[in-house]
């Protein structure tokens, strides 16, 4: 690959990365853009002159995004609903579980400095009571639900930041 071809490839990569267009439209635009640069080069322009005409990749992409506004992605206002779900569920997880776990760990460590297995033993280690006290459901349905809501909230928010415009 010649130096000129490498420069062009780098420039085009910079423009492509910054185009805020759906994939199919982006491919079309890039194919036309590549063709336009080749045509200018054939007409006698140097790479420097061509890049100066378009500006930096950032400027060229901004120009194209502005002129092709009808095709660019738009942000849906619904994304704030999902953001709220994510914040509320995330906040619940932090406050209810993490803080409570920390408090429990601190209190437990302060009251029972030896291993925590002894906390569960009430009424004798060899009696059925001990089994009753230490047997506990290990699955937190509320944590699972909040984690699920958090994932849905974050995913919905990110997806709704890039919606195709209606024709």
């Amino acid at each position: 690959m010649t130096e000129s071809e490498k420069k062009r490839k780098r420039y085009l990569r910079g423009v492509r990365r910054r185009l805020n267009l759906p994939k199919d439209v982006k491919e079309r635009v890039m194919s036309d853009f590549v063709s336009a640069i080749s045509a200018r080069a054939e007409a006698g322009m140097t790479d420097e002159e061509i890049f100066a005409e378009y500006g930096s990749p950032k400027m060229a992409a901004a120009d194209l995004n502005e002129q092709m506004k009808e095709y660019t992605y738009q942000k849906s206002p619904l994304r704030f609903v999902f953001l709220t779900i994510a914040v509320v569920s995330g906040g619940w997880l932090v406050l209810n579980k993490l803080v409570m776990w920390l408090c429990g760990a601190i209190v437990g460590a302060a009251l029972y400095p030896s291993k925590s297995a002894s906390v569960g033993i009430i009424g004798g280690a060899d009696g059925p009571t001990a089994i009753f006290v230490t047997a506990k459901s290990s699955f937190d349905w509320d944590v699972f639900l909040m984690l699920l809501l958090l994932v849905i909230g974050v995913t919905g928010f990110l997806c709704l930041r890039r919606c195709k415009r209606k024709p």
């Binding site: 439209v25 079309r28 635009v29 194919s31 036309d32 853009f33 590549v34 063709s35 336009a36 080749s38 045509a39 200018r40 080069a41 054939e42 007409a43 120009d63 194209l64 502005e66 002129q67 092709m68 009808e70 095709y71």
Partner: protein
């Protein structure tokens, strides 16, 4: 900032003019920009991003098609737009519509000038 009225007028006719140029001969996007600018004495000095939506609309409606022309020697291939049969018929239809529209507007404007 270009006059808003002039912008609206251009918006209305550009697609027709682009289709006419492509019907006259297969052409590249860059060449279309040059032809539009030259034949309009600079009145239609478009940017690439303004031309592309016009081309894509015409292509999606089946009036033009894009092909890649293999360059000679070391020249890179370029995207060539050519008119389809549908495009040629539509080109003629739009030109008839335009003449009719132009006449109607002229009648209005003449009427005002005579007052």
């Amino acid at each position: 900032m270009e006059d808003r009225f002039l912008q609206q007028l251009k918006k209305g006719v550009l697609e027709m003019l682009v289709l006419k140029l492509i019907c006259a001969e297969p052409t590249y996007g860059y060449a279309l920009l040059s032809k539009l600018k030259k034949r309009s004495n600079g009145r239609f000095a478009l940017k690439e991003g303004t031309l592309y939506p016009i081309l894509y609309r015409l292509e999606d409606e089946g009036m033009i098609r894009a092909t890649w022309s293999q360059g000679e020697g070391r020249t890179a291939p370029k995207k060539l737009y050519e008119a389809t049969e549908t495009g040629r018929e539509e080109n003629l239809r739009r030109q008839v519509l335009w003449r009719d529209f132009e006449e109607t507007v002229d009648i209005f404007l003449e009427g005002d000038n005579q007052r």
